[in-house]
């Protein structure tokens, strides 16, 4: 029998290589599209080429006659089924019924009209081309501000004002703050619509077992249990007969939390045909039919004293919702409101959100989900205030941070920031770039026309969603630890990682707690039949909540191990370390493997103790966590072409305790890449007819490796008191800290020309025009 080997050293905090990688880099991992079931059909979705149109007729006859076509379903077939679900709740929210196939109208380019099922993917695509749809094009609106203007085309005819909801929040006495202010600065700031662009597109395989009345659904999902619950409700399939499997998931960035029309469609199709059916999204469909992110037009007003003391902040958010509400669509801008004060001691805030329907695909949670928008806004406003006051932007920030002893720090938006030392990362990053020297270089360079920019952001974020009352579907996470009779350790986590590396970090945590070798530990996730109910991986919650659940399950097991150890050693009290139970008095010890064997052999049970070594813990967090940090970016602007070069990128992040520096670095690098994408290159552009003009990777500029600067990443460590691991979460930090630092840097480079603000993305032509015009936008 194999035995558990003793582990030589602790692993938490060490650069342990990702245990997931061998299967990923050798191409042997099983992604959704690798799944092939006997007799499986393939589906292709017929989609609208118009942003808004009345469907006059759908003729499926010519397509049905093509070889290999099994069935074609249209809107009529699914008209009585429930809506694609949105679980976010806001008072007065207008919720359009989101049919999985369009009924009499289409509302966005890519709107599903029919699903063609055939023997293979090629035949399905050919038949989809042969479906004849007659449209009457209608006026569309794709811009959220235009949508809210009187006389705009109505996205949904029953709501001519295109307003899905309005939301108001305030804290303190905002008008008082503005009365007391010496200075008020105002700015319109946009966070453009982005496309999450996971490397693996979405896909579904649905397999109905008629005899058992059970369904197995494979979906490229970040939250398989949620998907199971929602599908069970929609189709009336008992949850214990519905298995959802998230196979290897090639990135999500929030876009795979949602349940989509296609998840439902494939469930419908497999039940109708009694055959397994697969649908895999093309990249083009991914552009058109997977959620987008951001889409904000924000109006800020900041009130301050002459000495730089920030008093009050007013914000109006116009959120581009798209045509429908996906899972969390309307909730995302409310996260922006929560984080609108950033890291600053505002006593007074007031926020209004207007959710605008547009003839576009819905927006929803994309890496950062509401916090990048809020951070971008406040960090731009602080720079604008600094310029107004002729104060150094670093000094202004440092003046308004709460001090470390003020934590937990209550915000005017009703949060309690858990722990922080906000000045430290900023000071560290500024020292790293030799800030004062750079300011001198900038001054000198301007004499000869050189455009050097020094930009910073001090960001905070709200992570580890979250205490259950603050979430629509529960905010805890679960873990089961099973020590097998041989002493091998199996972990089942309810978090469903999709690239974050929890198979490594969770094993590190368990290896240290149990004192066993990491090779004796396996972490499973993503299969609802294997793993106890869980919430999923999003909002930087995987380790902060899922890891904490694991920690507590391990504590329960350790107690039980000690009981067995004491029984075997015939001691009153034993300690657990180095993979063994030790009787301190006698010095005798019994190995972990012997204890595991004894626990299952059960010849001699400790008092009031069951055989076996299994523990499950569901952990409900008492608060969110609040990571923070500072990014400093040095840019050089080519005044002849408007092109921006990044000379240095310094990121100092504080995500609390670090389990694995390698994975944290990966998260920071990836996050910065996506933040840089927003700052410099990416934008989802719909024209006035609702056509997506950036609907291919030849038009939509996702950052590539060669476009990235060298990222100098380091950390300060302020443990979170919220969870026993002291971790805060780092999945979104890079994205949140990046875009304002970059934009602040470029605005800084042009500030002597009178430039105060630039909207993203900072394309060369935009910069060139401003330089040409001597600073006038």
């Amino acid at each position: 029998m194999a035995t558990t080997t003793v582990k030589p050293e602790t692993l938490v905090g060490k650069k342990v290589r990702r245990r997931e990688d061998p299967r990923l880099i050798t191409g042997t991992a099983t992604y959704l599209d690798d799944i092939k079931l006997p007799g499986m059909y393939h589906a292709c979705v017929v989609r609208s080429p118009y942003g808004a149109a009345r469907i006059k007729s759908v003729n499926i006859k010519p397509a049905l006659e093509l070889p290999g076509v099994a069935a074609i379903f249209t809107g009529d077939d699914v008209k009585d089924l429930p809506s694609v679900p949105c679980v976010a709740q806001l008072p007065g929210l207008r919720m359009p019924h989101h049919h999985m196939l369009a009924q009499d109208r289409v509302y966005f380019v890519g709107h599903p009209i029919a699903v063609v099922v055939a023997r293979d993917r090629y035949l399905a695509a050919d038949a989809a081309d042969a479906v004849e749809v007659e449209y009457e094009e209608l006026p569309a609106v794709a811009d959220p501000e235009k949508a809210l203007a009187p006389g705009s085309p109505a996205v949904h005819p029953q709501w001519p004002d295109n307003t899905a909801f309005t939301f108001h929040q305030e804290g303190g006495h905002i008008e008082e703050a503005f009365r007391e202010a010496d200075v008020i600065v105002k700015q319109r700031i946009t966070s453009q619509r982005l496309i999450p662009m996971a490397m693996e597109t979405r896909g579904v395989v649905a397999d109905w077992h008629a005899a058992e009345k059970s369904l197995t659904l494979y979906s490229s999902s970040q939250a398989p249990h949620l998907l199971r619950s929602l599908l069970a409700g929609i189709f009336g399939i008992p949850e214990n007969r519905l298995r959802v499997v998230a196979p290897e998931v090639g990135g999500g960035f929030g876009s795979k939390i949602d349940i989509y029309a296609e998840d439902m469609l494939m469930t419908f199709v497999t039940q109708r045909l009694n055959k397994p059916v697969k649908w895999v999204e093309s990249r083009r469909e991914n552009f058109l039919g997977t959620i987008h992110g951001r889409g904000h037009v924000d109006y800020y007003e900041l009130a301050a004293k002459r000495d730089g003391t920030m008093l009050g902040l007013k914000l109006k958010i116009i959120q581009d919702l798209g045509a429908y509400l996906q899972l969390l669509t309307p909730a995302i801008p409310t996260l922006s409101v929560l984080m609108m004060p950033g890291l600053y001691k505002f006593k007074h805030i007031s926020a209004d959100v207007i959710g605008a329907f547009t003839n576009c695909f819905p927006t929803d949670a994309y890496r950062g989900a509401g916090r990048p928008e809020a951070t971008h806004g406040i960090e731009r406003m602080v720079d604008i205030l600094a310029a107004e006051l002729k104060m150094d932007p670093a000094e202004l920030r440092l003046k308004n941070f709460p001090a470390p002893e003020e934590f937990p720090f209550p915000t005017a938006t009703g949060l309690a920031y858990d722990s922080g030392n906000y000045a430290l990362p900023l000071k560290t990053a500024l020292a790293e770039v030799e800030y004062d020297k750079l300011r001198e270089e900038q001054k000198q360079g301007r004499q000869t026309g050189k455009l050097l920019g020094i930009g910073m952001s001090a960001y905070g974020e709200i992570c580890a969603f979250g205490p259950s009352p603050a979430t629509p579907t529960g905010g805890w996470e679960s873990a089961t630890v099973k020590i097998e009779p041989s002493g091998k350790v199996t972990i089942l986590t309810g978090a469903s990682p999709h690239g974050q590396g929890e198979e490594t970090t969770f094993a590190q945590i368990a290896a240290d707690e149990l004192g066993v070798n990491i090779d004796d530990i396996v972490v499973y996730h993503g299969d609802t039949q294997l793993v106890q109910y869980g919430i999923g991986t999003f909002g930087s919650r995987g380790t902060a909540i899922g890891g904490a659940a694991l920690y507590y399950a391990l504590q329960e097991l350790k107690e039980k191990i000690k009981k067995f150890g004491a029984t075997l050693l015939e001691a009153n009290q034993v300690s657990l370390s180095g993979g063994a139970c030790i009787d301190e008095k006698s010095g005798k010890s019994v190995s972990f493997a012997e204890i595991a064997a004894a626990a299952y052999r059960a010849l001699k049970l400790p008092p009031n103790t069951q055989p076996g070594l299994v523990a499950t813990h569901f952990w409900e967090p008492p608060n969110f966590t609040f990571p923070f940090g500072a990014h400093v970016v040095i840019t050089e602007v080519d005044r002849e072409t408007g092109e921006i070069a990044i000379r240095r990128y310094v990121a100092v992040d504080d995500c609390g305790k670090i389990i694995n520096p390698l994975l944290v670095a990966g998260q920071v690098h990836g996050g910065v890449a996506q933040g840089l994408g927003q700052a410099l290159w990416e934008q989802a552009v719909y024209d006035d007819n609702g056509q997506l003009l950036t609907g291919e990777l030849t038009d939509y500029a996702v950052p590539r490796a060669h476009m990235m600067p060298w990222i100098e990443a380091s950390h300060t460590v302020t443990p979170s008191p919220v969870n026993p691991l002291g971790v805060k979460g780092v999945g979104e930090a890079g994205t949140i800290g990046c875009s304002p630092a970059v934009v602040n840097s470029v605005v800084d480079a042009l500030s002597h020309l009178g430039v105060r603000h630039l909207d993203m993305p900072l394309t060369p032509e935009k910069i060139w025009r401003i330089v040409q015009a001597g600073g006038q936008a």
């Binding site: 090629y122 072409t641 290159w681 950036t694 038009d699 500029a701 394309t763 032509e765």
Partner: protein, 281 residues
């Protein structure tokens, strides 16, 4: 990739290839770096593809009496790295190094690229500046066309139905020449917003020869002949590059307007010429 159904043929000789394409109805497949993505999107739906991959003798790179002969299926990677080209026609190697990414350069071919004639492709600028010639062969003809007469319009060349590009002929560089390819790539596609290829020869402290090829600006790549003339007659760089793109109908898209593109062409032309001047001994 889920294209429409198509026939596929893989001839093993040039003769066989020419017979297959004689009717002009079959589409040639070389590296597939433009054709396959279009078929994937079903924007191109050819009924029949003729794959050049098994045709021998089409990917040679040789020098013969001062002329480099580059076979149509030589890949961008070959052209970027082959010592003969790096030594005897470094401008072409430099232009090739800017195409797409490593994967594209490993698959894509010079013949395929120029026959496709994307208005933002890199080769045309270099081939125009190099005064290259292109050899076109059909079942009944064999002719040589100067690059300047080959690129006619966006995705339109002098190729007649039934003809195939078999090789590109480039004069070998005498050794004292300066050159540069300056490109502003689109951040998504990597294609040139503008790309400028420049060659300079000097004699007695003066510019004795200037050649400037510009891609990405208009519907087809072109030579900035007025700028060339100005440089050869002793005008300043600024005077010369101010004429680049004059009278051209410049492209405009979401990323770069016509006005900006034209400005960028002049800035890039100046930078290309500055490098070329430095390199010219």
């Amino acid at each position: 990739m889920i294209p429409r159904e198509f026939d596929y043929e893989a001839p093993t000789s040039l003769q066989e290839t020419l017979q297959l394409i004689a009717s002009g109805e079959r589409k040639l497949l070389a590296g597939g770096m433009s054709l396959i993505p279009m078929m994937k999107l079903r924007l191109a739906t050819p009924d029949s593809l003729v794959d050049l991959g098994r045709v021998p003798g089409l990917n040679h790179i040789v020098e013969s009496s001062g002329t480099l002969q580059i076979g149509a299926t030589a890949t961008h990677h070959d052209i970027e790295t082959f010592p003969l080209i790096r030594g005897r026609c470094p401008l072409l190697a430099e232009a090739a190094s800017h195409i797409g990414d490593v994967q594209v350069r490993n698959r894509g071919t010079i013949g395929g690229s120029i026959a496709h004639a994307d208005p933002a492709a890199d080769y045309p600028a270099a081939l125009l500046a190099l005064e290259a010639q292109i050899r076109l062969v059909s079942a009944s003809s064999d002719r040589i066309v100067p690059a300047v007469e080959f690129f006619l319009d966006a995705f339109t060349t002098a190729l007649e139905p039934g003809e195939i590009v078999v090789e590109v002929l480039v004069p070998a560089e005498p050794g004292a020449e300066g050159y540069s390819y300056e490109k502003a790539p689109h951040p998504a596609s990597g294609f040139a917003i503008v790309g400028v290829a420049a060659r300079i020869q000097r004699s007695g402290g003066k510019i004795s020869l200037a050649r400037i090829g510009v891609t990405g600006l208009g519907a087809r790549a072109f030579r900035a002949m007025e700028a060339e003339r100005l440089l050869e007659s002793g005008s300043s760089l600024d005077q010369a590059v101010a004429t680049v793109g004059e009278g051209e109908d410049a492209n405009s898209d979401l990323y770069a307007s016509a006005e900006y593109r034209k400005h960028l062409a002049r800035v890039r032309a100046k930078r290309a010429l500055e490098v070329a001047l430095r390199r010219a001994s």
